[in-house]
Symmetry: C2
Subunit: 259 residues, 2 copies
């Protein structure tokens, strides 16, 4: 495998850093190639603005159009182009980050905002009677697989089906489906560590074993069965799921996973 | 009302900017006080790191503990303290931003990551047999109300109950419930403009009317009926919703709204 690890935590002696290091050594020992984008170490610019688009920035700024023209002309900033090239190189992408307020840290959201430009991650493919662009299962990043490795301070029960935070699968859906599956990436079930606020060194050997097991079976792990957009499950252009396709009781985000 | 508008868009001639300006003039004309945090204009630091906690930063960094000690000692950075003071001053908070990749722009997520410190927005209140901290309906920011005013490039149908993006209420739940309701803020139904990628000047008068109507009726708008954590609906400490409380057919995030 050619694996890109996108890592976002400010402390190099953190659990997240240890999980990132373990991924590097485990995958390299198994013969895989690994690149790491350590966003804090890179001093990653989190904030999308006109400077990202160079001479393609119009006034007033038009984010889709300007980013698409900058992408087409090859004049996106070097930091963004480098990340796009790593994504094209990789067949597997691991995101290692803590859940902060039920979402990505800002520096990682800013990686998405800036790297996932028009004509690269969206605004790809034609719109006609049988397709609404190439997205949700098709797109520039098709053929790749991704996995979120996240830490959550609270206990697992709070993220269960009836837990107060909401189910973890639903909390991660906007990332899994809206960010990763949108440009064509298949998404593996996440690796989630709960209760990390109260985790002690005694727990760490079990964590190492669980994470190593996941890393060494990435190749054979089945992705989440999200429905492709343009292959008959959705009305076009409303993109409503056609009636009767869902399993009994499935609602909300769950509709978009095949029964 | 004392209204804080937290605004995040890089272009001062954008729809988002117009909506922010309209909110200022509409509310001030109606006799309300308004403060604006224009995150791009402020060059808001989006990335949480050890520098946020000054002398309270430990090595290795412990984000909850360090941010809580910095808050208690009054040594958080001036930018963060100013935002916390604005939140304490306000009784109403409006967030004006575009949905980028189904979530906040990074600069706004970084406002949450940095301003919502331990002992301010979380880590408040005791844990015992009848409460699990003061959160989800209680907390430092109780007594305040918030509203998300968001723009979405795609058409409304894609955000409907069966739409491919998932229902808008579910996409916004991690912000509504996980970020705003968590420290005690009541959340009003959002003001969402869809299809803004294809919106023309002809559409703008209708937008002005709709947004003005919402602004002038904020006082009398009922908040989303999220369930309070510590008042009998949840088991403690699992924080599972007790069986039988939900309306028929409600699952996932919807469980946490009263029938």
């Amino acid at each position: 495998m050619k694996t890109l690890i996108v890592y976002a935590h400010p402390e190099q002696k953190s659990l997240n850093s240890s999980l990132k290091d373990l991924a590097v050594t485990t995958l390299e020992s198994a013969g895989h190639d690994v690149l790491v984008s350590d966003l804090y170490a890179m001093n990653w610019k989190a904030v999308l603005d006109a400077a990202d688009f160079g001479a393609a920035a119009s006034s007033p700024l038009q984010i889709p159009g300007d980013s698409g023209r900058a992408f087409d002309a090859g004049i996106l900033t070097p930091d963004v182009r480098a990340e796009q090239e790593k994504l094209m190189w990789a067949d597997t992408i691991i995101f290692q980050f803590p859940l902060w307020w039920y979402a990505m840290p800002a520096i990682l959201k800013g990686w998405v905002d800036r790297v996932f430009t028009y004509h690269f991650a969206y605004g790809v493919g034609a719109h006609n009677d049988t397709q609404y662009g190439e997205r949700f299962g098709e797109g520039t990043l098709a053929g790749r697989r991704a996995l979120l490795s996240v830490t959550a301070g609270g206990p697992e029960a709070h993220y269960a089906e009836r837990g107060i935070n909401g189910p973890i699968d639903d909390l991660l859906f906007p990332i899994h489906h809206g960010i990763l599956y949108y440009p064509g990436i298949e998404v593996l079930p996440p690796f989630v560590l709960y209760g990390t606020d109260r985790m002690s060194a005694e727990n760490y050997p079990d964590v190492v074993k669980a994470w190593t097991d996941r890393l060494l079976t990435l190749d054979s792990t089945e992705p989440i069965a999200f429905r492709k957009q343009n292959f008959g499950d959705y009305e076009i252009p409303s993109l409503h799921l056609k009636e009767g396709l869902e399993a009994a009781g499935r609602t909300g985000f769950g509709l978009h996973v095949r029964a």
